[in-house]
């Protein structure tokens, strides 16, 4: 059952990458990357249990923190011209 959940999360990660590649706006890409990071935390936790080494959970904790900081760090520049340019393309 753990392996089935791992495969489901891998499929969802592929879906998130597809949205990050074909996203029409910049916010879609950021959303997809955020979702990809959260699913990576789950994948690392599940792989730790599948491989019988739950010490992987330390890496999952660190990855959750890095994911949050990366999203907030990108959004810190949301006043820059790039964000508004992508939105003007959409109009």
């Amino acid at each position: 059952m753990l392996i089935a959940a791992t495969i489901a999360i891998l499929v969802v990660m592929i879906m998130a990458i597809l949205r990050a590649i074909t996203g029409p706006t910049l916010y879609d890409r950021i959303l997809a990357v955020n979702m990809f990071g959260t699913k990576t935390v789950l994948l690392i936790s599940l792989l730790g249990f599948v491989m019988g080494r739950p010490e992987f959970l330390d890496i999952a904790i660190v990855y959750a923190l890095i994911n949050f900081i990366s999203v907030i760090g990108v959004l810190h520049y949301s006043d820059a011209k790039v964000f508004k340019a992508s939105e003007q393309q959409k109009k």
């Binding site: 959940a5 998130a16 955020n34 979702m35 959260t38 935390v41 789950l42 959970l57 939105e87």
Partner: protein, 113 residues
């Protein structure tokens, strides 16, 4: 008792996997940024909680259980914060919802022929 915990773990893992896949289908199929964010933000927190609870019921020892609880609490705090920051940045930069825009343009074209 052990088999009961295994059954509960499998049920939680199945529900969490289903919610993950529904969030993935939502981010691919929904037409707009805000609807995509609704799909991801709603399913992400619950799916993560379900899968982590399913892992907690796999009968690990104390430290592993503590780490799983830490990951669950961090996800429950971090994911809504990131979603809120992303949505407020999108609204601040005048990203217009698509369906609302189309309805307004139809209304304008029908009222001002």
């Amino acid at each position: 008792m052990g088999s009961l915990m295994e059954i509960a773990s499998v049920v939680f893992l199945v529900i969490g996997s289903f919610l993950c896949v529904s969030g993935g289908v939502g981010i691919l199929r929904f037409p707009d940024f805000y609807t995509r964010m609704h799909a991801v933000g709603v399913t992400e927190t619950l799916a993560t909680a379900m899968i982590l609870i399913g892992l907690m019921l796999q009968n690990p020892d104390g430290l592993v259980l503590l780490k799983l609880i830490i990951i669950l609490l961090m996800t429950l705090f971090i994911s809504p914060t990131a979603s809120h920051a992303l949505a407020s940045a999108a609204v601040h930069n005048n990203l217009i919802p698509e369906l609302d825009n189309k309805a307004e343009s139809e209304k304008e074209s029908s009222s001002n022929p």
